[in-house]
Symmetry: C2
Subunit: 354 residues, 2 copies
């Protein structure tokens, strides 16, 4: 039964514009979804969120399902992304941490050396993070659009573990990798294993695509990326390739890293709000799909300005297959909900049959 | 008298490698100085600093002189940079703020709108920040190498005023400029006036070069820079051009902004630790000098790795005139002093007579 139902869903989604764009196929319109499309800017989200801490909410499959569906019901995006947080695997590692409102993830005892790295626990995502699989199963029965699963990339996961909190330049991570290269590679190997297991579990549970968030990788010089990250990222994407779902590879501040990210892997490369989209696509050899680039802060301007920015982003790709419209980073708290609706509808309408 | 002494100093510095490199002239070796070369990594600095808060120390001309001279005496860099902080002009604006250890500048009441911008006070740097000029006068009598004065660029100054504290993506500044473009341009005009006045005062007092720190400008898309910053930055550099001293224009995360920064102005463009140096110089049309790019975190590795990174940076410019060796950002607290000495000596010796 379960298997039949899945086959039916796959057939239903075969012509989903989001999945077509991931494969660089022509679609009926430019698909649009927004990073953090379920979040604090929504009144309905804030109502639900008031009852739980962030970590509690992420571990509650029914509420995760409700929250994930909210933006789809409200604004009709072309894809849903599982409501969760990149820190969730830390729960399996038995790391003492919290998501502090207005700050982000805060780690009780940041990693200092090889011994600390050695103490990190191995675990099986299917068993210890089963709530994630449950939410995905609930969601795929309801959703008419593709569902994106996700995880933080090993570097970004390591960054929080070493810094202990968000940072503007991740100097402690850079110190760690230059000062203790062996401990660094041990940590990256470990996190790569964890991430492969976690994302494969999500595909087994039913997600239709995966996004790897290497959110803070822009803190590194390309040579540093090549030496300290690339082998691990290549292994990650090679392993995920066997799942058969499209892979999105996202980072911020990556203007100088794009060709290395492409070498690491990904069917779609996510571009932040700072990096020119057309130049990025050219730097990627136009061989993969692209996503992103709309500055989330523009959603605070009036609709004329929003339309202008949307037109800019669309024009830079010029309607070629392989464009997923998205912001360059998550929707910001305080963003007017009407402006999100305006943007989603504008992109879908203006690109329909173009 | 004073004028004679100055003429003599100018003559003495005519063949200073740092000033030659600023002008893209051949020099006896590749000059080297390090951003934040006077700072917490030095035992002698920590001794002095223990007696004052950061803001107190900056307002004490004799101690500023001692601290500015420390790295020159200890490590023999090719240029000194006035010990100060980019927030100093906030004192003249009558803004309630503090430099919080481990955080950075914290503004009591961040700017919200046009009315807040209108309340910012105009002032004369020569009168209200006279301690800066006094320190410069004391320093130029002692120093055998060029002295660099500096200020934050209007965007970076505005960023703290609006965010209220350091930020990893400066989302409130981006919201502000998209949502309230008129208030934004009023603020930028005001800060440009202040910065011109402040830097001209420093040249009058005796500095031999100026560095404009647009440290956080990498948070912006080039089109945002072009529309919201470029007119002000162009005015700033045009006004400073009349001083006759070389102008250094520095920012971080600027891979996509280099040609616009070049259009804004500067004899030297400063490159951070993430952006490939050779590509940057090519993007700048090799028409100006370049400075920076050595990852400050590498100073925590062993000397073999430090030498490797120094060789990489040197090789990317290949000994052409117009290269000032520097880090891509400030020396980090905890950096071994011996490693700083090693780097400075290595660069000076390995490039001598090359």
């Amino acid at each position: 039964m379960k298997s039949d139902w899945r086959v039916e869903r796959r057939a239903q989604l075969a012509h989903a514009p989001f999945l077509q764009a991931c494969r660089k196929e022509k679609s009926s319109h430019t698909p649009v979804w927004l990073m953090r499309q379920a979040g604090r800017y929504q009144a309905k989200y804030r109502e639900i969120r008031a009852k739980y801490s962030m970590l509690e909410l992420c571990q509650h499959p029914e509420e995760v399902t409700r929250v994930t569906l909210l933006p789809i019901e409200q604004f009709g995006m072309d894809a849903a992304i599982l409501f969760s947080d990149i820190t969730i695997p830390y729960l399996g590692m038995n790391i003492d941490f919290d998501i502090v409102p207005g700050v982000g993830p805060v780690i009780e005892s940041p990693l200092k050396d090889e011994a600390d790295v050695g103490r990190l626990e191995k675990f099986c995502s299917k068993e210890q993070l089963s709530f994630v699989g449950e939410a995905i199963q609930l969601l795929t029965r309801e959703l008419k659009v593709p569902l994106i699963g996700f995880a933080g990339a090993p570097f970004t996961m390591a960054a929080y573990l070493i810094e202990g909190k968000p940072s503007k330049d991740f100097k402690n991570v850079r110190k760690f990798l230059f000062q203790q290269p062996d401990a660094w590679h041990t940590l990256m190997s470990y996190l790569t294993d964890i991430t492969i297991d976690y994302l494969k579990m999500q595909v087994d549970a039913g997600v239709d695509a995966l996004q790897v968030f290497d959110s803070w990788v822009g803190a590194l010089h390309p040579r540093t990326y090549e030496e300290y990250l690339l082998p691990h990222m290549s292994r990650l994407f090679t392993a995920l390739g066997s799942t058969g779902v499209p892979l999105i590879h996202f980072g911020t501040g990556t203007a100088s890293l794009l060709s290395l990210m492409r070498r690491a892997g990904g069917d779609v490369i996510g571009i932040d709000w700072r990096t020119p989209l057309r130049e990025s696509w050219d730097a990627l050899g136009r061989e993969c799909a692209v996503q992103g680039n709309f500055d989330p802060a523009v959603l605070f301007a009036d609709t004329t300005r929003i339309q202008q920015e949307a037109d800019r982003v669309l024009k830079e790709i010029g309607g070629e297959p392989g464009h997923i419209f998205n912001l360059g980073h998550g929707v910001l708290p305080g963003t007017p909900e009407d402006h999100v609706r305006f943007l989603v509808e504008y992109v879908q309408e203006t690109t329909a049959g173009a």
